[in-house]
Amino acid sequence: MRITCPLCGERDRREFYYVGDAVALRRPSPDAGEAAWDDYIHNRDNPAGDTQDLWQHEAGCGAWVVVDRNTVTHAVNNVTLAAKVTR
């Protein structure tokens, strides 16, 4: 698998640390309530198709990136710096 780091270019998956669903971008406020926090911490979809997840180019530039990919075709469609994702 290859992921195109927005800074370093296309790199092998082994340089990246995988975190999980990009829901991690949208941290609820402390008073958002139990349901919101449960969703944020524990509840994940397992889509057959397009998915958006969070990786870190840990063995590269250190950037956290949001990867749009497809779990069926394995296509990687888009990679964005997490710091630049609007939320």
């Binding site: 800074l7 370093c8 340089e15 590269g60 530039c61 250190g62």
Partner: protein, 179 residues
């Protein structure tokens, strides 16, 4: 008074020549990482330029002046190698002079050696002089910069100097054995 004695990261390990290649330590007198604060990149780069003649490098590039080499080392960060920088107000400045083992691999076959350890295409023309990459060498996080047609500079964590030398030497032997 008792004096503390300096020891370089690869002391006792290098240099060594295998086949047509040489691996040698290349310890810089000073190494300083700089990471400009928000909105300060331009000002920091200008300050570097007025001091050293070269500014803050763009990603995957290393800049060379007669006094320093400034190498991009990751998101928003660069390493000034050679001399300590002037006081920079707009950036996080961290002394890293002792944090890295720096080696130079030179000679015909250096590309082949790195192709055994590094998952990035380091052949010319994809990776020219003063191109740099943050990547892996074996399992180690490294910074690799091409110095010239047959020379690479490789930086790894100081504590891993022995593994770095071991991995590179083994690959050099493998390449040399193929003739």
């Amino acid at each position: 008074m008792v004096k503390l004695i300096e020891k370089t990261p690869c002391a006792g390990l290098l240099p060594r020549s295998i086949g047509l290649m040489t691996l040698a330590e290349d310890a810089y007198p000073a190494m300083t990482s700089i990471a400009p604060y928000q909105g300060q990149s331009r000002q920091v780069s200008a300050a570097l330029k007025s001091t050293f003649g070269v500014g803050f490098p763009s990603p995957n590039r290393s800049l060379l002046s007669d006094r320093v080499r400034i190498t991009w080392i990751g998101q928003g960060a660069a390493m000034i190698c050679g001399e300590a920088p002037p006081t920079l107000t707009g950036a996080a400045v961290t002394d890293q002079s002792d944090a890295w083992a720096v080696v130079r691999l030179t000679g015909k076959g250096a590309e082949d050696v790195l192709a055994r350890l590094v998952p990035v295409d380091l052949r010319r023309p994809q990776f020219r002089s003063n191109h740099t990459a943050r990547t892996l060498l074996g399992h180690m996080h490294v910074s690799i910069t091409r110095i010239d047609a047959k020379t690479f500079e490789i930086m790894a964590m100081r504590s891993m100097a022995q593994t770095l030398v071991h991995e590179l030497s083994q690959a050099m032997e493998n390449v040399a054995a193929r003739g």
